[in-house]
């Protein structure tokens, strides 16, 4: 008897045992222990000044124990200078209760009183109630010089027009055509402004996470048989929306015409970047348990998906990851923008180094980020040069979604500290754990924004914690010079978004683009900050999205410069110690 026949016969005589064995998925990767602290890392102390500064915001996701899916994503936050006084103000978003935010939902707008304090100016601002609120994107869509706001929420997003810095915002969602309600309530998360067609008006990209509604919510249980949040795989992805700004206060939904509608992924975080430096803004999208997207802007109103061949679609073991937040910066100062993506616990965060030939190297393991990030569930993230040495460091908000994760998964906790990674200037990062101050407080962090709220030259961190108090983490690091730029477009968009600034100090050259929306559901200070170390002057070049470029030599350091398009040199905005305008 031939073996094939024999084996088949053996199968046929087996008595119905196989059907009893359930077919289940591959087990997740086992946990990875974190690497020990690098002994050489300098301190990076951040102190929570929220309460002292008058910020008394406590987020609520309205969880009732039913474990409804949108409760996991929390809410974001933003640094914005809504009154254009040169001091960053703060927006903190609240989810409230599903499905519409409920009676207790209340966002908070805080005005910076320029003395280390903030004043709650929510009342009358028009921003207080926005439904089950998730994210915010800050951008001057009407080019009037005042930052406007796009707020995402389950059941309906909102576009708020800033009324000339008066502290009042008008909801222009319906007139502008960006409600995204044409096919019923959607579950949107991060959004970002960017001028993809270079017409001088900011367009808007929005992540729609998953097709969820209270009616389609699924009951799930964990290994302890307790009610638990479901895997996102149980919900279909809802893809992206791209709104092209017509320049007259209205937008046209252009997802189909640009090719973005083809990707119904579970999109969580996104960022505009010109990865191939062809002058056109591309869009990177972090997706949850689906391949990430890198949508290359061909310059003719069409995007092409390039994530797989550029090496950013998957983790370095070739698998899909749970992409959450996105940060963009040229961390190795080679002139090409790199990408950092936060992932689920037991999926190391991804660091994609742009090697400049239309390709990214996955440097997660080599950079030293993989091990310390492995037990953490990352959300918002941003590059920042906290020690002002000219190399971008990294801060990440962490926090799990399953309350009993410590009982079910080895080495993973529910509340988690934020991570600060110092750039070792050789392509690697060292996690700083000791003496980081209140960064080490374990929380359920979600949204994270970076900005220098006290104008001392040190980038500070704002964090929105799920069902917890918001944190305003002041960077206490002393030392190192700095320089920052506030751009003002004329032919280009008024924010000067995507202007590329190159700073040379001594032997070091750094580059950065003006960008506001990235991280997770959050928007950071759009001023471009550079650490300069010991350098006492900097030569600077700016290239505007319009194509114009200018150079300025020997700029004084430790101050913010305003650079208007069309002028050959920037104007000084603020010198050290200049507290009042």
């Amino acid at each position: 008897m031939r073996r094939g026949h024999l084996l088949l016969a053996l199968r046929l005589c087996v008595t119905g045992t196989g059907l009893a064995l359930l077919v289940t998925g591959c087990p997740p990767k086992p946990p990875v222990a974190p690497v020990p602290l690098s002994k050489n890392a300098p301190p990076g102390r951040f102190t929570d000044r929220a309460a002292a500064a008058g910020i008394e915001f406590r987020h609520s996701n309205g969880a009732t124990g039913q474990k409804r899916f949108p409760e996991i994503t929390g809410s974001g936050c933003a640094f914005l200078d809504f009154d254009q006084d040169g001091w960053l103000d703060i927006l903190l978003l609240d989810a409230g209760a599903l499905p519409d935010g409920g009676p207790t939902q209340r966002n908070r707008l805080y005005r910076n009183t320029r003395d280390g304090h903030f004043e709650d100016v929510t009342e009358g601002s028009g921003l207080a109630r926005t439904g089950y609120t998730q994210g915010a994107a800050v951008g001057d869509f009407d080019n009037d010089g005042y930052p406007d706001l796009y707020v995402t929420a389950y059941g309906g997003n909102h576009l708020f027009r800033n009324q000339a810095g008066t502290g009042k915002f008008t909801d222009v969602t319906v007139q502008a055509g960006v409600s995204d309600l044409d096919q019923g309530p959607r579950y949107s998360l991060s959004a970002a402004w960017g001028d993809y067609d270079r017409d001088g008006w900011l367009d808007l990209a929005v992540c729609r996470y998953a097709r969820w509604s209270p009616e389609t919510d699924k009951p799930c249980r964990n290994s302890l048989s307790a009610r638990s949040y479901c895997s996102p795989e149980l919900y279909e992805g809802d893809g992206l929306r791209l709104y092209r700004n017509r320049g007259n206060g209205t937008f046209v939904e252009s997802s189909r015409s640009t090719g973005l509608a083809a990707f119904n992924r579970r999109a969580m975080g996104l960022a505009w970047l010109d990865y191939n430096r062809d002058g056109w803004q591309d869009l990177f999208v972090a997706c949850d348990l689906q391949p990430n997207l890198l949508l290359e802007n061909g310059g003719r109103g069409r995007f092409r998906e390039k994530a797989v061949e550029t090496g950013v679609a998957y983790g370095d073991m070739g698998g899909v990851l749970s992409g959450m937040g996105v940060a963009v910066a040229d961390y190795d100062n080679d002139g090409w923008d790199d990408l950092h993506v936060t992932n689920f616990s037991h999926q190391p965060n991804s660091l994609f180094r742009n090697v400049g030939r239309g390709f990214f190297e996955n440097q997660s393991v080599w950079s030293g980020l993989a091990d310390p990030s492995n037990p953490l569930l990352g959300w918002g993230c941003e590059f920042l040069d906290y020690d002002r040495d000219g190399y971008k460091d990294l801060v990440v908000a962490n926090g799990h979604m399953h309350e009993d994760v410590a009982k079910t998964v080895h080495g993973v906790t529910y509340q988690q500290p934020k991570s600060l990674y110092r750039n070792n200037r050789d392509g690697t990062f060292a996690e700083i754990r000791q003496s980081v101050g209140d960064l080490s407080t374990a929380t359920l962090s979600r949204g994270l924004a970076v900005g220098d709220y006290d104008n001392d030259g040190g980038p500070d961190v704002l964090v929105n914690n799920q069902n917890g108090n918001a944190q305003l983490l002041r960077n206490e690091y002393q030392g190192g010079h700095w320089i920052a730029f506030l751009t003002q477009g004329k032919q280009s968009n008024r924010d000067g978004m995507h202007a590329r600034i190159r700073v040379r100090s001594g032997k070091l050259t750094q580059q950065s683009e003006v960008r506001a929306g990235a991280s997770f559901c959050s928007s950071s200070d759009r001023r471009v900050h550079f650490g300069l170390g010991a350098a006492s002057a900097a030569d600077v070049e700016i290239r505007w999205p319009s194509g114009k470029s200018y150079r300025a030599r020997g700029l004084a350091v430790d101050r913010v410069w305003r650079w208007a398009e069309g002028t050959s040199a920037p104007q000084q905005v603020r010198a050290p110690g200049d507290r009042k305008p």
Partner: protein, 391 residues
Amino acid sequence: MTQQPGGGSKRRGLPRLLIASATVVGGLALGGWAVQRGMEWRRHEPALRHFNRGQELFRAGDTDAALGEWDTATQLEPAWVVPYLRLAEVLNQINERDLAVQMLVRAHQANPRAPHILCRLAEACVQVEEPAGARKYSQEAIDQEPNCPRAHAAFALARKTDLGLAAKHLQRAHDLSPKDPQILLTLARLYVHSGDVKEGQETLLQVLTITPPNAETHYLSGALLVPRARDSATFKEAEGHLREALRLEPERFDANAQLGILYLRQRQWAKALPYLQAARKQNPYSPGVIYQLATAYRQVSDPRAAGEWEALRKLQAGTRRWTDLQKQLVLRPQDLELRAEAAVVSLAVGARAAAARLSGEVLQRDPDNKKARRVLQQLQQLPAVPDSSKR
């Protein structure tokens, strides 16, 4: 204490009586057992003849004929455990692991109290990546035989995502069977895969106290260091271990893959390529290897990168489809067409054990199912993939 007259003789007489009685009872019991065993063997006699014939054929190298004889033995005497166990053992050796599981299930049905049967069943479920069965049987094995090292080892493997719990049970297994290097190697493997360098190295040192260095210990020592090989000393150490593993076992997929990744991270693209190519050939379904190979091709501007990215895309799409089918199967377990489709897709993504199991399940109910038969035929034509080819 005062001794009563005559009491000593009474005491001497009582043990003699007891011994004599015990001898009689014992003899009767032994005789009864022997009679029963003899009857049992007699009852097994036709099956026994086929079983023994199978043993002879197997020793002579005719595995197929041996399998046939043992199978006949099970049909003649369905309640007799031994032929099932032998079938399971040999099926496992020829990489027919899903069938081995089913033989063990039948052995368990024939005699639920047979020694180590639950341990074997749990181990076998682990091997065919059947977590539900592995968890169930390993828990029962621990309950039934708490001092059986194999039960604890199987329990640990069934719960390897919980490293703390798995390590505890493997340690217990090691305490119960301190000379068995496989238990410690399993523990070391868990630490290596979890990236726990300190525990991994300590466990490997323990392994080397009971067994000389071999390909597996070299592979694990090297793999442990690959993610940390940023300085030249660590790099050289990792490289040395992996090269030695390959010298001892040139066909190791995992060592080829790790050595390729090691060179890739050192930006030694050209050096990485042959190892990654070898690994890719040995296991065409590893997304990690495809990703790394595509990266290496891309770095040296080799046009083959595009083909690898496309392969990765297809593999991921297949994996997604397979995941979807698994979910649907939970909801519709009786749907044979769905099960057959799942078999086809699982084979396409390299999940051979699942493909074999699913197609077998379909054929039990529908022996003429073409999809399931085709999957089985394809499985039989595929070259064997070593255990180490897990993704």
